[in-house]
């Protein structure tokens, strides 16, 4: 990836003066080095998914090669059910947070009302609150509300929707602010009614912001450990499973799941972009 990215950049003076070339591309090179650095742990995760550890180890160190982790990914007890719990919670909280947050973003960008500025600040507050504070105060609320016995799926879901909401609102709002409202006025001038305008103009224009917000919400929810740890009761999500396994001894299959998660989301994002490019090309005719 590194070499092809460099090669694709326009060359000012071919090879004759390599120092000059480096000077022109120094920022791109730094950027690529930073990206490579962010991939070191990912590479480790992939490598360790083929590891056969000797004995139960609390750290993750290479011993010998095996396919068996990939052949039996669900062998460690409880891991795959934790994964399935995580997927369910993140899908549900993404849907709820994206719908509620998008409505809020529309209200804040498209309408004026008393207290709009206060609402903006209030929505920002959860993002300025460290997770450990949110998690602990929610736990206190659930305990005081007599929900102690039912801590689990529902309480995790409630918490995840709560901390995803602000991120959704901010992301969708950024998109709406950049949108040219004259396009909607033009649609109305051309006798589209409110609903048609919304469906054919507003929603497609806002879609990239909404999709980005949903992706962000999903990854925040799926990956959350701190808030979940406080609100989970006996329910185990994948991050909680990994944390628990860390204390007991570490099944190498968690790295298989990590690798699969990485590959699946990577493929989804790349396919989405290919689809997007085709659509844009088709629109251009």
């Amino acid at each position: 990836m590194a070499t092809s990215a460099v090669a694709s950049a326009p060359r000012t003076r071919p090879a004759a003066r390599p120092t000059r070339w480096v000077g022109d591309h120094i920022i791109l090179l730094i950027g690529i080095v930073v990206l490579v650095y962010t991939f070191i742990p990912i590479a480790y995760v992939i490598i360790l998914s083929f590891n056969q550890p000797t004995g139960r180890s609390a750290t993750a160190e290479w011993d010998s090669f095996t396919w068996s982790n990939w052949a039996h990914p669900c062998a460690p007890q409880g891991m795959c059910s934790a994964l399935s719990t995580s997927v369910q919670i993140s899908v549900l909280s993404t849907i709820i947070a994206t719908v509620l947050g998008t409505l809020m973003a529309f209200a804040l960008v498209r309408h004026t009302f008393r207290g709009r500025a206060t609402a903006n600040v209030f929505i920002f507050l959860p993002m300025a609150t460290p997770e450990v504070v949110m998690g602990s105060s929610l736990l206190a609320l659930f305990v005081a509300g007599g929900f102690n016995g039912v801590l689990g799926f529902t309480t995790i879901l409630i918490a995840h929707v709560m901390f995803c909401l602000s991120f959704v609102v901010v992301t969708v709002k950024a998109r709406l602010v950049g949108m040219d409202a004259r396009l909607e006025q033009a649609a109305m001038d051309l006798y589209a009614n409110e609903w048609q305008t919304f469906k054919r103009i507003t929603l497609p224009l806002a879609a990239p912001g909404i999709v980005a917000a949903a992706m962000l919400a999903f990854s925040l929810s799926f990956d959350d450990f701190i808030v979940t740890n406080f609100t989970s009761g006996n329910t185990v999500t994948f991050p909680l499973y990994v944390y628990g396994a860390k204390q007991r001894g570490f099944p190498p299959q968690v790295f298989v799941i990590g690798t699969v998660m990485f590959l699946v989301s990577f493929v989804i994002v790349v396919m989405g972009e290919i689809w997007n490019r085709r659509r844009r090309a088709a629109l251009r005719g």
Partner: protein
């Protein structure tokens, strides 16, 4: 994520902004935030004033025990200082390495722009805990990093990386870098490259051009990036727990211990609320200094 909140919008959008019943759209989400964010926070504030002599079993009595704050802060001030120090260093390093990355993506990546952007987000796709655990392996005493550092005499022969402040800060930098890069990219991407060309046409050096044109235009991204990095980093306890020892523990570790292990709720609430208020005060001060009040 590009900006923390919309500034008062320019003419075309303002024309479309309507009075009336639009605020109804806000109600469901606001209710959620009020019940599950505001109410718990208020409750937290009242818990922090309980009589500390009670316990989880016998119950607490509300005595407006303001001394809780004095005790908690004087016992734990070093944890607060350490947390803000670690988070501050991590934020500065993230800015220093995230800015060239965001700049490269916005202006230099050409048709690889989207691909590089995906690469920035990609680490998010594997679990945060797994990534931190692999850092544990990478920085371990038998790992190649420590070997290399020892060979290069950057570390004494018995020196370690794991279980040091360096490892904890490195973990924070690694885990929160995308929170810096993405807002920076979003605001750099909006900078018109013709402005930079114009500054070069007017005989400014690339450095002056950057200082007078690009940097000022990217300030909103710098502000939201530093906030989105500093806030979660200052409350984090996973990096300190997995990459450090109790000597590197941050305030998050203390709060988690007080809540989940010691079940000393007044103490935990006091520390939580102090952390929240200090962070909030720092954020407001910072936004005011940066001259970007319209961000909120």
């Amino acid at each position: 994520m590009s900006r923390l909140a919309a500034p008062e919008v320019a003419a075309p959008e303002a024309a479309a902004r309507r009075r009336g019943w639009g605020w109804v759209l806000l109600v469901p989400g606001m209710l959620w935030l009020v019940i599950f964010f505001l109410v718990p926070t208020i409750q937290l504030a009242s818990t922090s004033l309980y009589d500390p002599s009670g316990s989880f079993e016998t119950g607490y009595s509300m005595t407006w025990h303001v001394q809780n704050y004095a005790t908690a802060l004087s016992d734990n001030w070093h944890l607060f200082v350490r947390s803000f120090l670690y988070a501050g260093i991590a934020t500065v390093v993230c800015l220093v390495i995230g800015y060239p990355l965001a700049y490269a993506i916005a202006f230099k990546a050409g048709r690889w722009k989207y691909f590089m952007l995906v690469m920035v987000i990609a680490p998010f796709f594997t679990s945060f805990l797994l990534r931190t655990i692999t850092w544990q392996a990478i920085l371990s005493d038998r790992g190649f990093v420590v070997d290399t550092f020892r060979t290069l005499h950057l570390l004494p022969s018995g020196g370690r990386l794991l279980a040091t402040p360096v490892a904890v800060v490195a973990g924070l930098i690694y885990n929160f870098l995308p929170f810096m890069t993405l807002p920076l990219y979003a605001s750099l991407d909006k900078v018109d490259p013709r402005l930079i060309e114009a500054s070069a046409d007017l005989y400014s050096s690339p450095f002056t051009g950057f200082r007078k044109v690009t940097w000022p235009l990217s300030i909103p991204g710098v502000v939201s990036g530093t906030l989105l990095t500093f806030i979660p980093a200052s409350g984090d306890y996973i990096n300190a727990e997995l990459l450090g020892t109790t000597k590197q523990f941050m305030i998050g570790n203390r709060i988690q211990l007080a809540y989940l292990n010691e079940k000393d709720y007044p103490l935990a609430a006091t520390l939580s609320l102090s952390l929240m208020l200090i962070v909030l005060a720092m954020v407001l001060l910072y936004i005011r200094r940066a001259g970007t009040e319209d961000l909120i």
